[in-house]
């Protein structure tokens, strides 16, 4: 249903690039997307799972979590896009006709992500993930200048190779499962696989897991396969960076999580894939410290922070205890909200100052106090400062580390997080104060504050988690830890 909405919307965008037309069509599509998606999420959470068209599309609590993240961020980012891209056109950075293609690819991108979280089949899921790469390549290179083309090229080459490894992994799984489930689509169905997981050939499956985690991991941005990520995030138009960082990475992680739930039940045991995830998670955290401390480009700073947060998520899910997985699921949602918000506010800042270089941005509070306030909230949110929700979720993961008797890992994680906090604080304070350059055009409307809505939600969730959300998260934990 909503996949159809997104595809039709995408095609519809190509008809005209007039301001009112784009505004109307986008709003209409967003309303339909929210309604149909919201209804599906509600049904899924009420019944535990929900199928459509005799199970061609199928959702459980984990898919519902991802589905809500996609829809919330899509609404937020596209609404921001409408104003932001108009300004880009106004400043002659882009021709007006290119807006058609911008929205076309954005909606195709959203459609592929919706497909990823709606299919119960690991093969179709692969097709969807590869589709997200293709849909975003031209968005990353949207400005068509040297740097944008370079970023897009690196992105498409690296991710295509990565994803093809995941295909090999999927084939190995098929080879392992076909003797038990038959040579058909069923053999890749994540509803069926947990039931026969203990009979899967461990040799084939082990190799399959390795290929798949490395493959999808490239897309998630796990270090050391993350090198495409800062390039793509910094060169793409800011709303696209927000979508990439807040949803695309999570979708790829979702693919790994589906494998994770199956792998836990095989002969290899939960430790095998858990250790791989913890390894990638810790490595991502460790490597990002240096990049974040030395960073000069503010959008790259946010990109590296995404790698860091994916590392935290991998740690949480990899640990596999009730508490850690609960924390990681919450963190997935909160990181998406925070990072989308930050990319949006930094995007409008970059648009105003005309530079991404941190040393050349000074005195934000003097010139644009409202932007400054939103950025303070973003700074506190992304670094996991109490009382923001991110603190709560990170704490849950950390306490999971200590409870499972990993004190050294716990210490390292806290050390890395502290260093990253210091780096963020250092960079942001520099931008807040100092003497603003004379070229800045002061003045902004109070409506800038409205951009901070996601961050306020994150703040709220740090203080109070509604019963319904907690129940939903517990359902997600059950799906991940207990099979289907």
């Amino acid at each position: 249903m909503f996949i159809g909405v997104a595809v039709i919307a995408a095609v519809g965008m190509l008809i005209s690039a007039k301001v009112t037309y784009l505004k109307l069509l986008n709003s209409l599509a967003l309303v339909l997307l929210t309604l149909s998606g919201g209804w599906t999420i509600r049904q899924t959470l009420l019944q535990g799972s929900y199928g459509y068209g005799s199970g061609i599309l199928y959702w459980d609590a984990l898919s519902a979590l991802l589905l809500s993240v996609i829809i919330i961020i899509a609404v937020y980012v596209i609404l921001f896009s409408l104003g932001y891209m108009e300004k880009e056109v106004h400043e002659k950075k882009l021709p007006r006709t290119s807006l058609k293609w911008y929205y076309f690819w954005i909606w195709i991108f959203i459609a592929t992500m919706l497909l990823v979280v709606s299919t119960p089949n690991l093969g179709v899921l692969w097709v969807g993930i590869e589709g997200t790469t293709l849909a975003t390549t031209l968005l990353v290179g949207f400005y068509r200048n040297k740097k944008a083309v370079e970023a897009a090229w690196k992105y498409v080459i690296l991710c295509t190779v990565g994803i093809s490894f995941a295909l090999l992994g999927t084939m190995l799984l098929f080879a392992a499962a076909a003797p038990h489930l038959g040579q058909s689509l069923t053999a890749l169905d994540w509803r069926m696989l947990p039931k026969i997981a203990s009979q899967l050939d461990p040799n084939l499956f082990r190799l399959g897991v390795l290929f798949t985690v490395v493959g999808y991991g490239t897309k998630v941005g796990f270090a050391p396969m993350h090198s495409w990520l800062p390039d793509a995030h910094s060169q793409a138009p800011s709303p696209v960076s927000a979508l990439l960082s807040a949803v695309l990475l999570n979708c790829a992680l979702y693919a790994i999580l589906r494998w994770y739930t199956i792998a836990r039940l095989t002969e290899l045991g939960p430790d095998f894939i858990g250790k791989i995830l913890i390894g990638f998670g810790l490595l991502s955290l460790a490597l990002m410290v240096g990049f974040i401390l030395m960073q000069k480009d503010v959008k790259r700073l946010l990109a590296y922070s995404s790698v860091e947060h994916m590392g935290i998520l991998a740690l949480g899910f990899g640990l596999g205890t009730q508490e850690a997985v609960w924390g990681a699921s919450l963190h997935l949602l909160l990181h998406a909200l925070t990072k989308a918000n930050l990319f949006v506010i930094i995007g409008s800042l970059v648009q105003k100052t005309g530079t991404r270089q941190i040393p050349r941005i000074r005195g934000i509070f003097k010139v644009w106090p409202f932007t400054g306030i939103v950025m303070v909230l973003g700074l506190l949110g992304i670094t996991g400062t109490p009382p923001f929700g991110t603190f709560r979720s990170e704490l849950s993961i950390l306490s999971g580390l200590y409870k499972t008797d990993h004190p050294i890992l716990g210490f390292l994680t806290i050390l890395f997080l502290t260093l990253i906090f210091a780096g963020f604080l250092f960079h942001f304070l520099q931008m807040f104060y100092g003497k603003p350059s004379g070229r800045y055009q002061a003045g902004e409307s109070v409506s800038t504050l409205a951009l901070a809505i996601p961050l306020l939600v994150v703040l709220f969730l740090g203080l109070f988690i509604p019963q319904s959300l907690n129940q939903a998260l517990n359902q997600v934990v059950k799906v991940i830890l207990g099979g289907v």
């Binding site: 200048n145 040297k146 090229w153 098929f174 080879a175 689509l185 040799n203």
Partner: protein
């Protein structure tokens, strides 16, 4: 694989392996592309033979799609970009042609070694097939590392894709049709997008040399 006799299978595998080595050894992009086309035709004939023998319309369908979609459309698209860019040389960095051939030979042996633990599983006849498939994947990766012309890197990806397709064929006798078609559609769209990007690259850099693209760091 009972469909095709052992001898025929070995002949096809020989074609696949030689064409893979020839791609690595090519000094002109056009040659590499031609060898890749030959290889893809061989792959699709293998699939077609299998499909006809077992009388499986699904498999025949995949074979035809492969022949038209991959062996047909992709080389035409890439050739057009090549002509526009006037690129001929593959751009050897790190390894010269002769050395890279030796490395590729070594990779073939490694491929046989890597696939050993999987040999116990499917029928014995697949051993060569799976090893050749893995070898092709290695060749593709090698090519992407040691050549700097953008289109050669794309040929590398296509080589990996052939390898993975073959591996899938030998491991599972074909994935479900939906997945096969989806992955083939993805690679086709991928090539179209890569062609668009290479044109933008030509506009910006006036060449397809990826060495120019080193500005994004840190």
């Amino acid at each position: 694989m009972a469909g095709i006799s052992e001898n025929w299978l070995n002949l096809v595998l020989l074609v696949l392996l030689t064409s893979g080595l020839s791609i690595v050894y090519s000094n002109r992009v056009q040659k590499a592309l031609n060898w890749w086309t030959v290889q893809t035709i061989a792959v699709s004939l293998l699939i077609l033979a299998q499909g006809v023998y077992h009388d499986e319309p699904e498999v025949i369908f995949v074979g035809v799609l492969l022949l038209i979609g991959k062996a047909g459309i992709i080389p035409i698209l890439l050739r057009r970009v090549l002509r526009e860019s006037k690129t001929a040389w593959v751009g050897e960095i790190y390894l010269k042609r002769a050395t890279s051939l030796v490395v590729a030979g070594a990779l073939t042996i490694i491929a046989y070694d890597v696939t050993k633990p999987l040999m116990a599983l499917p029928q014995a006849g697949f051993r060569n097939g799976l090893a050749v498939a893995i070898a092709l994947i290695f060749f593709g990766l090698l090519l992407m590392m040691i050549r700097k012309v953008a289109i050669v890197q794309v040929v590398g990806i296509l080589l990996i894709d052939n390898g993975i397709f073959l591996a899938g064929f030998f491991l599972t006798q074909g994935m479900p049709l939906l997945v096969e078609m989806g992955s083939m559609f993805d690679i086709l769209v991928g090539i179209v997008i890569i062609v668009i990007l290479s044109k933008q690259m030509l506009e910006n850099y006036d060449s397809l040399n990826v060495d120019h693209m080193r500005s994004l760091k840190g």
